[in-house]
Amino acid sequence: MKTFKICLLGLFLIAGSLSAQNVNIVKRYKVNGNEVKGTCPVLSPAGDKLLFTSENQKGLWLYDLNTKELITICESEGAGYAPIFNADGTKIFYRKTIYQNRRKLDAIESFDLVKKQKIEMISPQRNLAHLQNYQNGFLVSTDRKLLKATFGKTKNNVPPYVCTEDLKLVVYANGKRTELNPTGENNARYIWVSLSPDNKKILFTVAGKGTYVSDLEGKITASLGYLNAPVWYNNDYVIGMQDKDDGHFITASKVLLVSLNGKIKMPLSLENEIAMYPSASSKGNKVAYNQLQGDIIIVELDVKP
């Protein structure tokens, strides 16, 4: 494992000048250093650490926004695809893609940031859905079965787990697997599914239709319009991107903060940048996104209740 000491350039651009009712942008800056270039940033729960990957999710790196230390977590294929932190930000869970007879399989590894230790938590599987934070580990489904993988004793109160399985929206709750189709569309294809921080709402996108929030039974409670790669900021706000293309190339994209009540839709990126794949930490009051050409931008927010 290689560790780099790099500088964080606090590129103060705009402080408090943008505001949408009770949301203010405090700071926007680029994470400095040529090594910190990549895509799909993931902020730790406290917003003090940043995971990022290469264009095709091969490899995973962690950058500490406080100590400015860069750590290579893994150089495996698939490692950068939707990694998660545990609740206290001391562990990272990520996948490791291998091909057997040209069939894709994913294993899940953990990386202990304190002990600098890797452990394989799930052996290579087919159809491994995305990870959802659970106690000191995670939940994940594979081939229509919910797996729990934690460090230490697992409590009985398992929260709902939401995911897509062959682009169907699936909820595992109370020991039961349920396929939801909130929009009621035939052949609706669900992507970018996640559970709200209070475990009561589901955020999802229907390809070609838009992004929505529903309750756990699939009743739509908010329609957010065209908003790709959405993630929760907190229980009231979602961050996502509005990207445009010409059928071949990405031509424009901006990152927005959207309130579930429909009253706030606030751009967080600048007009002249192609901003994509945001991540959020409400505890750290931060949003991170990558520009198309690989720079990673941090936006610090002041969000009043």
């Binding site: 264009e55 095709n56 040209r102 069939r103 894709k104």
Partner: protein, 806 residues
């Protein structure tokens, strides 16, 4: 009986094949992304007949991609694969953002993502391009965001490319290409971030540009659903190979059916020398005799036919089309392959061939141009060999025979223009036949007479051949007897230096056909100045033609010698710097429509200005006189006058006017047979002796040159000195009087101090045309043009340019 046996065997084999399930895709998951979506401006509508622009029934890449994708999905699912298809309708609503397509492939955990497209290549290219996620192996460029190289994506893309390239119905303009999308986007598209559908993808993936949809023969093929099925089948076969999912147990027969000789008449581009030039047969019927399965080609000008999923074995394929000879072919089908059988049918020609029109079809007393081709048009496409052998022309003419319009037209192109005023007889013997071996019922012949002109002629030029005092920035002017075809003038008229190096023309200076019709001309300047006192040549190729195609034939070479023109070391008697010092003298002018004298600052050699003398004549025996209000020198006949003149190539004569008391004398300075600056001088020894004359102005006498009707002459610094300073030929110019020049019927020569022994007239190519021991030569029978008149005296031989105009 044999066919019945074969059929029974095939029933057995087919049932065996249907029951066999050789492929196993049961654990494979593939994302199929038919590129684009809808009928919008970014959905690549290629307009082909009979569809208009924007017609949803016409060709749209979005629609074509979707059909291929759905067909591939069906094949994969039938083989047990799980298929994630990103759209199932060709609607704008289903035209998903690229980020959503990537998310679908990632979240579905597919093993491979294929984005199906076709490409555009300006209508003249057709090849397979596979763009896999990543970089070319040898790409060392540093990208803003690193992209891991994808071996797996490259591997499967290569398999796909090879299978698509094996298609023998189409014609490829180049081999297949397998490229990393980021390298290709950067080098070919100027976009360093790669293709959006491959960015963020965490599984192997590629964009397949299966062929070029704007290559119109391919556009028509892509309109055929079974042709699209073949592309989907090639994808499917590639997946079988890549995932080692087993061999496809069946095979296919595919091909296109076209006329064996007739070509497509529409002007859209077809790859040269390929079957794409041949006429596709719409509505042709193909039958597999063993199974009686039939296929009728569509009406969309592609001739494509496909028999799918056949049991391996030997088949007999019968091809039929209205008015064509049917043919049957034996085709062997193997498992997992396509047996290509491209078919060219022979048309049924059931009547004898005959000439239905011919050219030149001109009856006496009219006559044909000597540059004409001989053209015969037939009712059928003809057999080339027998028709060529049957053709003859009398008197014999050397030339070449070509065939056009699918051998329906014979064209005989003479190597040289035909002879003048000659009766020609064209004959096609009845031995000429068409490909069905029927000959003409009788000989065909016709006659025509040619006109009395068989060369494009150069009438005059500047510089003319032998010109000595050409300014280093000459204005080249070539005037011909007919309006020029300008298509090849740039390359076929050259100026070269003494080493034969071509000098570059200033293309912005080129002016063509500026003289009054029927004459033709080309004017130009050079990009750089010439070197003074050097030899140069104008080379006029024999391929320079007039507007009816009459060529020069024999190349023309015009030699000239440059001069600084500027004479500065002699006393100046007139600088032409003061406005208003010269004016038209109407009393001394005849036959003018207008004439002016004005100070000019744009064309000058010295000081700030020259004097422009412009004139337009209304009759043939015209003259214009300009008088000066400031007569500023007096001279006797022992002096020499030199003058810088910007000539107008009119051929008119420039004279100096002198007065001594009531004695008015005109002295010829030069003929204005040049264009641009030259220096001319004249000894005043023709003035009466022992008298002083005052210079009072200029006179221009009209001659009979083709440009004599009007002109503009600029004059700068006039000099008065004691001894001639110009070279011997220039001195001769003052002693020799050749008139008229240009001449029409006779030309007369006088020399002031020598006797003439004989005159010889040469062509510009050096051929002696005629000679006489008289001082008058009859040129009535000499064609219009520029010639060299050689004058032999007791001491010298002098050559002089002579323009003859009839």
């Amino acid at each position: 009986m044999n066919i019945i046996k074969r059929y029974c065997l095939f029933v057995f084999l087919a049932s065996f094949v249907v029951s066999a399930q050789a492929q196993n895709f049961s654990d494979i998951k593939i994302c199929v992304n038919p590129g684009h979506g809808g009928y919008d401006s970014d959905d690549r509508n290629v307009v082909i007949a009979p569809y208009s622009s924007g017609d949803p029934n016409g060709f749209w890449e979005s629609k074509s991609n979707l059909d291929k994708g759905l067909k591939l999905k069906s094949m994969l699912e039938n083989a047990g694969a799980t298929v994630i298809i990103t759209r199932t309708t060709n609607t704008t609503a289903d035209d998903l953002p690229l980020s959503q397509i990537v998310a679908m492939a990632n979240e579905a955990n597919v093993d491979y993502m294929l984005s199906i497209h076709s490409n555009a290549g300006n209508g003249i290219a057709n090849y397979v391009l596979q763009l896999y996620a990543g970089l070319d192996p040898n790409d060392t460029y540093t990208y803003p965001t690193p992209t891991p190289f994808s071996d797996e994506s490259r591997t499967i893309s290569t398999i796909v490319a090879q299978n698509l390239y094996s298609n023998q119905i189409t014609n490829w303009s180049a081999s297949y290409a397998v490229r990393g999308d980021k390298t290709f986007a950067r080098t070919a598209m100027g976009w360093s971030d790669g293709y959006g559908v491959l960015r963020g993808l965490n599984v192997p993936g590629a964009i397949s540009e299966g062929s070029m949809h704007d290559y119109i023969p391919e556009t028509y093929r892509l309109m055929n659903g079974d042709y699209r099925w073949l592309e989907a089948w090639h994808f499917f076969k590639s997946f079988c190979q890549y995932f080692q999912a087993g061999t496809i147990p069946t095979g296919n027969i595919a091909g296109s059916i076209r006329d064996s000789r007739n070509i497509i008449q529409e002007s859209y581009y077809k790859l040269k020398g390929t079957r794409d030039e041949l006429l596709p047969l719409n509505g042709a019927k193909l039958t597999i005799l063993e199974t009686n399965e039939t296929y009728t080609t569509d009406q969309l000008n592609n001739g494509v036919f496909v028999f799918k999923n056949l049991a391996p074995g030997v088949y007999h394929l019968k091809a039929e089309a209205d008015n064509y000879h049917e043919q049957t072919f034996e085709v062997t089908v193997a498992a997992g392959s396509i047996s290509y059988q491209n078919i060219n049918l022979n048309k049924v020609r059931n009547t004898p061939p005959e000439v239905i029109s011919y050219s030149p079809n001109i009856l006496l007393p009219d006559s044909a141009e000597c540059s004409t081709d001989i053209v015969l048009t037939f009712n059928w496409d003809m057999d080339v060999t027998s028709t060529t052998e049957a053709f003859s022309i009398t008197p014999a003419v050397e030339g070449t025979i070509t065939f056009e319009d699918s051998q329906r037209i014979l064209r005989f192109k003479p190597k040289l223009p035909l002879e003048k005023a000659t009766l020609y007889t064209v004959k096609l013997a009845k031995t000429a036949k068409h490909p069905d071996n029927l000959s003409m019922t009788e000989d065909f012949s016709f006659q025509f007479v040619t006109k009395n002109r068989n060369r494009l002629q150069l009438l005059t030029s500047y510089p003319f051949d032998g010109a000595k005092g050409v300014y280093t920035k000459p204005m080249f002017r070539l005037i011909f007897d007919r309006i020029l075809n300008t298509s090849n003038l740039q390359s076929e008229i050259k100026v070269v230096d003494k080493n034969g190096t071509e000098l570059t023309k200033n293309t912005r200076s080129v002016l063509n056909n500026k003289v009054q019709a029927p004459y033709g001309s080309t004017y130009f300047e050079l990009s750089q100045s010439l070197v003074a006192n050097e030899d140069y040549k104008i080379l006029i190729s024999g391929d320079v033609k007039d507007e009816i195609g009459m060529p020069v034939v024999e190349p023309i070479e015009l030699n000239f010698h440059t001069s600084t023109v500027l004479v500065e070391n002699q006393p100046i008697v007139e600088e032409f710097e003061t406005a208003g010092t010269y004016s038209l003298s109407s009393d001394e002018s005849i036959g003018i429509t207008n004439a002016t004298a004005s100070r000019n600052t744009s064309k000058k050699l010295f000081g700030n200005s020259s004097m422009l003398f412009s004139y337009a004549f209304s009759q043939s025996d015209a003259k214009v006189t300009y008088s000066t209000s400031n007569p500023n020198f007096i001279t006797g006949n022992e002096k020499v006058i030199g003058l810088h003149i910007y000539g107008d190539l009119s051929g008119n004569e420039l004279q100096l006017k002198f007065i001594s008391d009531n004695d008015i004398q005109y002295v010829k300075l030069c003929d204005l047979n040049f264009f641009g600056w030259e220096f001319a001088e004249v000894a005043l020894n023709s003035l009466p002796a022992d008298k002083n004359f005052q210079f009072t102005g200029f006179r221009i006498l009209r001659k009979n040159g083709i440009l004599s009707a009007s002109g503009e002459v600029y004059l700068d610094n006039m000099l008065l000195y004691d001894e001639p300073i110009m070279s011997i030929p220039q001195v001769w110019k003052n002693k020799i009087l050749i008139y008229p020049n240009p001449a029409s019927n006779v030309v007369m020569v006088k020399i002031t101090d020598q006797s003439i022994q004989h005159l010889q007239l040469y062509s510009l190519e050096g051929k002696l045309l005629q000679e006489t021991k008289e001082t008058i030569m009859d040129i009535t029978n000499v064609a219009s043009g520029t010639y060299v008149l050689k004058i032999k005296t007791g001491k010298d031989i002098i050559s002089y340019p002579l323009i003859i105009v009839h």
